[in-house]
Subunit: 140 residues, 2 copies
């Protein structure tokens, strides 16, 4: 699906992605990560081959959740939930981390803070459904 | 396991719980909720019988994640991940929501904002393992 502008604003912000992948025993695994949008997909980068990458190669079904800075009239914080399918690609992690660091840390930051970082992995997530609490849900 | 003080401080704060349950097709479902600690278990309340409750009755394995207000020396936001087992109990939701509302909304708030709320459900989560990024992880 096309990511609506209301959700894209959250994805372009400093909001952290809570990324859920599925372990081999069917239980869930969560890590928080920087995320952005490229070509209507959610992207994030990892320098090393972590468990979440192995999980997504085995089962590409992921869910991401993001808190927003908006509080509704009942006092509840709006949040964005995204269901999607992930594919892990090799290389490009330092460049994407540098780009995301401008959003998450500041425009002048150099990241990752090491010489010669490994090429790492970029994960791309095709968005299938939106949920949570906010203008991107149908009942809002 | 006994919840360590470093994690209990997060659970007692205004940090929102990102609660992951498992759907019948094995995919993950995420909702954000208010959470607290009672008798070394994580507790939260729901007025109505939602999908997450049906999910936890079928498969009690849950993961919760919480952002903190602490940023480490690399600029990364610390976050708490909890793996546990949930049990859904009947009744007590309005009382627990009122208690949690004092933390999440303010000491003077009346919540839920309706006359005669239904008894609802209280979910109790036994903590099995901590993860994420913060003083509650072994590598920290």
């Amino acid at each position: 699906m096309i990511i609506p502008d209301s959700a894209k604003r959250i994805l372009d912000s400093q909001a952290l992605a809570h990324l859920v992948t599925l372990n081999s025993d069917g239980s869930s695994q969560v890590t928080c990560a920087w995320a952005g949008v490229e070509a209507n997909e959610i992207v994030f980068a990892t320098l090393f081959d972590q468990r979440k990458l192995r999980n997504m190669r085995r089962d590409p079904r992921v869910t991401l959740s993001f808190e927003t800075a908006t509080v509704n009239e009942m006092g509840l914080t709006e949040y964005l939930v995204i269901k999607g399918r992930a594919r892990v690609t090799e290389g490009g992690a330092p460049e994407l981390l540098q780009e995301l660091a401008r959003t998450y840390l500041g425009p002048e930051v150099t990241f990752p803070p090491m010489p010669d970082p490994p090429p790492g992995f970029v994960t791309r997530i095709e968005v299938e459904r939106l949920g949570g609490l906010g203008p991107w849900t149908s009942g809002h």
